[in-house]
Amino acid sequence: MRYYTYFPGCSASHGGAKAYDWSAQAVAKALEVELIELDDWNCCGSTPYTSVDELASYCVSARNLALAEKRGLDLVTPCSACYVILNRTNSAFREYPALRAKVNEALAAGDLEYHGTVNVRHLLDVFANDIGCEEIASRVKGDLGGLKVAPYYGCQVVRPSPGFDHPESPESLDRLIKSLGAEATPFPLKTRCCGGSLVISEENVALELAHKLLDSASSNGAECIATVCPLCQTNLDVYQSRINKKFKTSFNLPVLFFTQLMGIAFGIDRRSLGFEKCIVSPKEVLAGYIER
C-alpha cells in the first residue's frame, strides 16, 4: 500500500468535476494507493488570487501546505491549477526568505507554521511514475485496444519547469494511455492552453483556443480526448457545443479524465466512474469497452 495526502480541489470535490474525484479514488484503490484527504483544506486560491493580492494568495495556499506538512506525506492533487499554485508557494518559500517570514507571520495568527518541505505532486505523476506503466498494464482486465485517444496535458501540469515531464513535449500520459491498450494519437497541441478561466470573462478568446485543440485532436484521428485537469475538461466538453456554433463545426469528441479511462480498463463498475457527467456523451465511443 502506498499512502498520500490528497488535495482534491474545489472542482473535483464539490464542483463540476466530481467524476474526476470518483474515478481517481476508484482507480487508486485498484492500484493499492491510499489517498487520504487533507482535513479542512481550503481553495488553493488559483490564478485569480495571485492576480489580485500577492501576499494573501501565498497565505491561502500556504495554509494547506502547513496542514499537509504535519502529515509528512507527499501531497497529491488531480487538479493542474492546484498543482501549479501549491508549487508556486513552495518555490517562493525557497527563493524569498523575506516573503517566507511574512507568510509565516500570517500563518502564526492561525497557530500554523510552514517550513517548505511538502512535496506537491500531480496525480498523473503519481500514477505514471510511482506506480509506473508496467504495473498499470498488469492491472488491465479489458484492454482498450483500438480506442484512439488524444493525450491532452494542458499547460500547468508540465509548466513551469522543472517538473516530472518535458514542458512542451511530455510523454507520460501517452505512455499511460498505451499501457491501457489504447492508442495515443499524435497531438501537436497537447500542451497548449484551453483558455483557462478566461472562458468566463473573455469567452470568445477562450473558445478560439479550445477550438484549435478540438480541431487538432480530431484531425489526428482521435475518438476522444483524455485530460488531467478539471478546467481543461470543462472548456473542451461543456463549451464544445458553443464552439461548434461559433465556428460552424460539428465536433462530437467526448472529453474524459484519464482516470475514467483507467477505470474502464481495470474493469471497475462504470457507475463509480461518473460518465453520465460528460456533456458530450462517450457512450458510443466506449460502447465496445464497457461491460453492459
Binding site: C10, N42, T50, E54, V60, A92, D111, P160, L209
Partner: protein, 190 residues
C-alpha cells in the same frame, strides 16, 4: 543589474519588490515571450513592449493596459525565456499593482472575474462554481447570464451544477480568516 535611472524610477522598484517581479531587470528584449504567447494578439502591448515600458517608468500606460489581464497563465513564456525571467509571475505582479493602484483596465471583464473569485475564497475558503458565476455576471453583464441559461441547464441535467458550497468546519474557517486578516494587516507583499 542596473537598467534605468534607479532611485527615481519608483515604478520599477515596486515591480522588483514583488517575488518574480525582479526578473524584469534581466530582460534583453528578445521577444521570445511575445512570440510564445497564445493571447498576444489581444493585448494592447506585447509582453516584451510592456516590460520595456515598465522599465522606462511608464506606470499609467502599463498598469491601465489590458495586456496582463489576457495572460492565460500557461507558462510557455516562462519556460522559454532565455534569461530565466518568470514572465507569468511578472504578469501577475503587474495585475496586483494595477488592482492596488486602481488602474486596472475597464476594457476586459477579467479583473472583475478574478475579484469575484478571490472574494469567495476570502469569505468561505472555497469557490462554489454556480454562485461565483452568478455573482460575476451580476457585477458585469446580467444579460449574458441569460445567454448562459442553456448551458447551465445542461450542467444541471448532468449533475454538474451544485448550489451547495463546500464549507470548512467553523474552527477551520476562523483559522483561515485569522490568517488572511493578519496578511492584510501586514500590508501586502513588500
Amino acid at each position: 543589474m542596473e537598467t534605468k535611472v534607479q532611485g527615481s524610477n519608483t515604478f520599477l522598484q515596486e515591480i522588483c519588490a514583488i517575488p518574480g517581479g525582479e526578473g524584469i531587470r534581466l530582460c534583453i528584449q528578445c521577444g521570445t515571450c511575445s512570440a510564445s504567447c497564445p493571447n498576444v494578439n489581444r493585448m494592447d502591448y506585447t509582453p516584451r513592449q510592456l516590460f520595456a515600458m515598465a522599465r522606462a517608468g511608464m506606470r499609467e500606460e502599463v498598469l491601465s493596459s489590458n495586456s496582463m489581464w489576457f495572460c492565460l497563465s500557461c507558462y510557455l513564456c516562462t519556460v522559454r525565456c532565455p534569461r530565466g525571467i518568470k514572465v507569468t509571475d511578472l504578469m501577475h505582479a503587474l495585475d496586483c499593482l494595477a488592482v492596488q493602484q486602481r488602474l486596472s483596465s475597464g476594457r476586459t471583464y477579467t479583473p472583475t472575474m478574478y475579484r469575484s473569485f478571490s472574494d469567495f475564497v476570502y469569505s468561505i475558503g472555497s469557490v462554489p462554481e454556480m454562485s461565483f458565476m452568478i455573482w460575476f455576471y451580476l457585477l458585469t453583464n446580467p444579460l449574458r447570464a441569460m445567454k448562459m441559461m442553456p448551458m447551465a441547464l445542461s450542467l444541471l441535467k448532468h449533475g454538474r451544477l451544485s448550489a451547495r458550497a463546500r464549507r470548512l468546519k467553523p474552527e477551520a474557517e476562523r483559522q483561515f480568516k485569522a490568517i488572511l486578516d493578519k496578511a492584510e494587516s501586514l500590508g501586502g507583499i513588500r
